[in-house]
Symmetry: C2
Subunit: 228 residues, 2 copies
């Protein structure tokens, strides 16, 4: 059967515009038709991230997209990613094991949109590019969180709904993610990871540093320019 005539299951992929979600989309499209979801929540670089999302969707040839806004996350605050008064470069809050860029319970909001949309359009999988070991240290990026989420998903949707969240990158290092993305032709040149700038990445924030370390360890050049 030729790949273009096979009926493939539908997957919703959460695409922030960063490198992890871009690789997650490249993984998903090996076996699925894609529906790409982007969520803005008042984060500092939301316009730049939305551009990255649209560029990636166009590059992958995916017409089925949804852009959602969660303005209340910005209104609620509590994170250096959404509060102008906080510094997203100095990432760790004194006395806490969790970075100051943690947006309280954020991934549950994002996954809820993916589940509602996925249930309505008949998707079978939700892909999210969460990374545990070499990642951000956020509580909602751990394997344990996703196992709990899938139990909630089964308890909270129609009995006939057959949908589950998968996290293909969760146990990969950043270098392994870069290598896998390169193998699958992920469009890294269209992605955006920086927490603080919106034209040229700063190269200094936690997200830039993790990304640069990944490319360096993979021995693959990062196609993005950096300020420092």
């Amino acid at each position: 059967m030729a790949p273009d005539t096979a009926v493939r299951p539908l997957a919703v992929v959460l695409v922030s515009g960063g490198m992890d979600s871009c690789v997650s989309a490249a993984v998903a499209r090996r076996d699925h038709e894609l529906a790409l979801l982007h969520v803005s929540y008042g984060q500092r670089t939301e316009t730049r991230e939305r551009r990255a999302f649209r560029d990636i969707a166009r590059h992958l040839g995916v017409a089925r997209t949804l852009e959602a806004r969660l303005d209340h996350l910005g209104a609620i605050g509590g994170s250096a990613l959404t509060d102008e008064a906080r510094d997203a470069v100095e990432a760790r809050r004194e006395g806490s094991s969790i970075p100051d860029t943690y947006v309280p319970f954020r991934n549950t909001h994002l996954l809820s949109v993916a589940v509602s949309w996925g249930e309505v359009i008949g998707a079978r999988r939700i892909f999210i590019g969460a990374v545990e070991e070499d990642g951000s240290g956020y509580p909602d990026c751990r394997q344990e969180y996703y196992e709990a989420f899938n139990r909630l998903l089964r308890a909270g949707t129609r009995p006939e709904t057959d949908l589950a969240v998968v996290t293909p990158l969760i146990h990969l290092s950043k270098a392994e993610i870069v290598r896998q993305g390169a193998r699958l032709g992920a469009p890294f040149h269209l992605t955006w990871s920086c927490y603080t700038e919106s034209e040229i990445a700063c190269g200094r924030c936690e997200s830039c540093r993790l990304r640069l370390k990944g490319f360096r360890e993979a021995g693959i050049p990062d196609p993005l320019p950096y300020r420092t």
Copy 2:
């Protein structure tokens, strides 16, 4: 210690404007300071429900309120509550055990907002007026769903966060909810339950019928007027 000087733990209460959430708020205020959360999601009667929320907050003397909008739930559709093309009175879809007014995974969206807000303001409890036995038949109104949600909450928030969802009405009948509300002085006259109208309740939709049955069985008159 006089009640007005005691330091009481803070609770976020989800208040839709309906009778169950109004009773849930009345239960919560026995032992907690209240923060009231209302979420609009493009449902047919959202303006009327928001008015009920504000009236209830004012009546209870609660100044700490948050109104959030989840417009993507309306955009995603899949429910008679948000799709104009569907009939919210004829509630059950052929071949499904779940009413057509089910909004896919809705309560996870609402609870996510409550958790994010609760984590930032230091709340200890989230009250939601979900009802299982005598309720709507929605999958996300069952005890099992809330147990799964609390496991997710613990996995997805800061380790120092001490927050849990409680469902004081989940095993009550509608008549018991009416009686409890009456005992606690819940302002039923300010609530709104109807799925389909926004000035005088229809008395015919699933939500009106459940409400009217509850008041009838409790032997307490419903203070709202009805069209039929």
